[in-house]
Amino acid sequence: MKVEGYLFVLVAAFFAVADVVYWFWSKDPTGTTALGLSVGLAVLVGFYLLFTGRRTEPRPEDDSEGEIEEGAGEYGFYSPHSWWPAFTATSAAVLSVGLIIGWWLFLIGAMCLLLSAIGFVFEYYRGHFSH
């Protein structure tokens, strides 16, 4: 995963240079802060990819002679079908609208959000799927 990691490090280096130039040119704290934390954005992903890449074996993608079928295997768990994201998003929307309309709606939204988050987190731990 070196290539992906270095790509993000390169982005971080670009933001760092741009940040210094921007500060001396404009003395604007807003943009300087935003650019400074953009370095953080890229460094976080870049560091993680390089760090993880060193701890795991090279993937088929990393091998220039790699074949498609070498990529077979488990990619992770993907929920085949779930209503919970929709409930969670709706609850979050009610909660946000509640900030404008009134505290009573905000509290209803917060309760709904908590319940749908519980449903979301424990969906594959209950009933038919319990393991």
Partner: protein, 205 residues
């Protein structure tokens, strides 16, 4: 001699399973990098209003901030990151009892942080008269530390979910370990953001 069909021997053994970084962990890091930009907006707001206020000759901060008090709660939050990491080490060993213990310790330390912050807010409102609308400093102070406090509270709820999952699963597997690891990523992130906020608001002022 009759023609015979020939076949070259081909290796039919399945290829070795490709080892990949855990998709949940990678996804969490990508999401956290977007959270960095959310706090970037808050920091940018803070520095902009600070420079405008100081340029206009207004005092910054207009009130007395209790730096030792906040130093103590900062140390509490940093130490809770350490205990959270102990939970991750236990999760990687598959020691579910130690996971529960360290998560509980981390939860209590995080709850202490939120409680201490709520107490600080009441002191500032009642004794210093600092509210959202009282001054520009009040606005940025409550918005930045408040959004951070909401993130800490979200982390506390995540710890409860994590504990719930260790009880809900019949067997402790890598799946639960992954939950522990990604919640710890989030907790470390929230910790680092607080160190940034503490440094800018309380130390640099």
């Amino acid at each position: 001699m009759a023609d015979v069909a020939t076949a070259t021997a081909i290796d039919v053994s399945p290829p070795e399973r490709a080892q990949r970084p855990n998709i949940v962990r990678v996804g969490t890091i990508i999401w956290l990098s977007s959270e960095v930009m959310f706090f970037a907006a808050l920091f940018a707001m803070y520095f902009t209003i600070r420079s405008v206020q100081i340029g206009a000759g207004a005092p910054w901060p207009p009130i007395h901030l209790d730096v030792p008090y906040d130093t103590v709660i900062t140390i509490d939050l940093v130490l809770s990151s350490v205990t959270c990491q102990f939970a991750v080490f236990a999760a990687e060993r598959g020691d579910v009892r130690k996971v529960r213990l360290w998560i509980l310790v981390t939860f209590l330390m995080g709850a202490a942080f939120v409680g201490a912050q709520a107490y600080e807010y009441t002191t500032l409102i009642l004794h210093e008269g600092l509210t959202m609308g009282s001054s520009a400093f009040g606005s940025v102070f409550y918005i930045t530390t408040g959004f951070h406090g909401m993130h800490v509270t979200g982390g506390l709820i995540a710890f409860l979910f994590l504990l719930g999952r260790t009880y809900a699963a019949k067997r402790y597997t890598h799946e639960q370990a992954t939950s522990a690891v990604v919640v710890s990523y989030y907790w470390h992130f929230v910790d680092v953001v607080w160190i940034g906020l503490f440094t800018t608001i309380f130390l640099i002022q």
